[in-house]
Amino acid sequence: MKTHVSIVLLVLLGGMGLYAAPPSPNYQQDFEGEEGMSGWKAWAQSGENTSEVNFVGSSSEKSHSGKQSLKFDLTFHEGSYCYWSSQALKIPATGDLKLIGYIYVE
């Protein structure tokens, strides 16, 4: 066992500050401007060879409002699932909150 590993851990625990940021119901993305992928990234897929990215990012080819939307252009090879997710959020799952949006499947 390497004792220094444990010491490193405690330094991290102590230095991190335990008070987590409070949750917030504010979330909105319209993909306008120079956002690029806007914090979106590959989250999980069934295997290493599940999919290939042709393009993922802000695009002016289609938009529900404004001039841009977020475009996903993927080619699949095998497997059964492939998920892309937003930036990390902390939206409280209480009250009457809803996530709404628009999707266009070409």
């Binding site: 851990l9 500050g17 335990l18 119901p25 529900h64 699932y81 409280p92 909150l97 499947v105």
Partner: protein, 738 residues
Amino acid sequence: MSVAFGRNLDLPPSLASGVATATPIKQASKKWQYFEIEIGDNTAENAIRLLGTDKVYRYVDRVALMFRGKFQPGQRAVVYVDDLKVTGKAKAGGEKEFELLVTEESARQLANATEWKRRIGKEAAALHVVIKKSETLPQGFKQHVLGSAAEVERMAETLTAQVAGKLKSKAWIRTSEAVAWQENLQAMQRVVPNLNRLWEYCEANPDRKNIIYLPAAITGQTLLPKALPVEAAPGDVVELSATPGEYEPATFAIFSNDEMREVTLQVSDLKSGQNVLIAGVIDLRVVKVWYQAGIKGIGGYRPGGKRYLVPELLLKDDDLIWLDGAKQRNLMRHRNPSGDLEYVDISDPDVKKNSDVLPQDSAQLQPFTIPANSLKQLWLTAHIPKGAKPGGYQGRVRILVGGKEYDQLTIKLTVLPFLLEPCPHVHSFYHHSRIGAKSRSPFQINYASRSEAQLEAELRNMNEHGLTSPITYQEYGEGLIKVLEMRKRVGMPAKSLFTIGQRAGNSSDPKQLQDLQQKVKQWVGLAKKYGYQNVYIYGFDEAKGDEMASQRAAWKAVRDAGGKAFAAGYQGSFEAVGDLQDLIVLAYKPDPKEAEKYHSVGHQIFSYANPQCGPEVPETFRRNYGLLLWKSNFDGAMDYAYHRGFGHVWNDFDDVRYRDHVMAYPTVDGVIDTLQWEGYREAVDDTRYLATLQKKIIKAPKAKRQEAKAAEKWREDLDIDGDLNVISKRMIEWILKL
């Protein structure tokens, strides 16, 4: 393939999370479509359902675009999303709740970390002593011991890094992550003393080429051929105890520096003075490690989309399944229609290849091979004859290689001087197997269609595992009579007959209800001839809300005709139909409050899906369907299912949604047991020991009142989350004292 927008719900400080999506889109829409997903208070119900508590904070940690389905090579998807937004109002006071449930928990875990650091330091010092003295061991053993020590070091580093990483990204620790951390430390605390014993064993036996490990039989740890460290101490004496009539498992594992070919095992008679138990009371099988898919849900977690080596099957013939390590495939030996033996890939998602597979194990243990630097686990089941005289018996297992004496183990078997009380719970499975039914399955070996010999073998196997009341799917008629005869022959008690061969439905039409009543009367009449006191007719499976309530007229008709109504369901069922539902099979972790409700009207409550059948977690099955039932005041268990194939029942990779649910794998002439199934048998036995102790307490003579009082106190305070092997030993000690 479909695409949908979704959200991921996090439930800190628990480890649970869950995905929900908007309606999936399966075809190109060529237009903008609006979607919405609720993320509000409905999640509280999910938390309770998943975790049995609402003491968690609930938040959405990401929104996601989800592509699902069986992807075809080259399939392309182009999707645009726009104007994502959260609308509505959050509940006031959420920040405070978050702080209470998450931040305070993290602070508590941080306080524990100081203590954990001290313990890590202690184990580290002990580990270094082992490493230092192992330098003098013969090369093969030195490599094994040092390899094990290196893995322990890696375990600590990974663990530490994971926790630090989690704090950095989320700034809180989930309770269950802290528990996992603690469990890993406990593993180190077990492993380091074992390594010390291993060193002593190697030092004392420098000429040996193999090591025999003696792990606990039913355990949460898995033994894999190449994985170090081995979570067991070395030794050469297998010890076990059992009562007359009982089945009791034990296990040992052989590690060899060199390849061992043509290994055979021979068991001697076991002797205790003049008393002899013939060698046949001990059954030996190899534990087969093979590739399986991921697990989701209670009882262990392995992410999907990968293949894992998992110990599961108990085989007489190790060569029934061959492993192709390079391609991570399971190959099964079978006789093809031409009569030739061949190996077929039973791990290919293209399941058509398995249509004609006819698995069959040997009746006798066949010679097997242990590759160099590899571990092989053997399984031993002692079945004590009912008339066996109590006492300490001793015998041996000879290990032969190529027919020559190689090594041996001593077996010390204690036959206890008392008999076990019957199990206080009803144990049942959903058992799809039927005779005489035309199979709709494309597979010769499937999970439902059976010959009479196959079905009787399955019933016998269940009865021998303490599962004495399986649900029959057989329809009314000649087949049913044969099934009832079989149940009698294999020794299943005739108390309650649970059937899905007759369903209640939800008609309220008087004519249809009259027909239903006639059928119920037929069932009740036939069952009575075989001694059954009750016939339970199944309702809608896992129904909720209006669907659940729509059965009231049908259930009333069933009951008026002398039958009883039962169905699987969820919390909330009692409030809707509890007055008419004679038995609920309640999903997830048993809740004593639910038991109280059903008992208040003289009805019963069974447990299921905690977990569903199948995951290779023998200790979980032992705990959750044994002492947990007792602690929760449940009347029984009815898990799904003895075997249920999603695709082919032997192929774990041919369904995108579910793994096969299997406790015993069907073959041409019976079944092949699994480790989880052996765990289930111990669940039944644990509660039988507890019932025996309870009776001893009640009937204790005056001279033993003090001990009886102490035993009752121990029973009341029993922590069922503790080490089940230790609990079992304590129960035996108390019974012997009284």
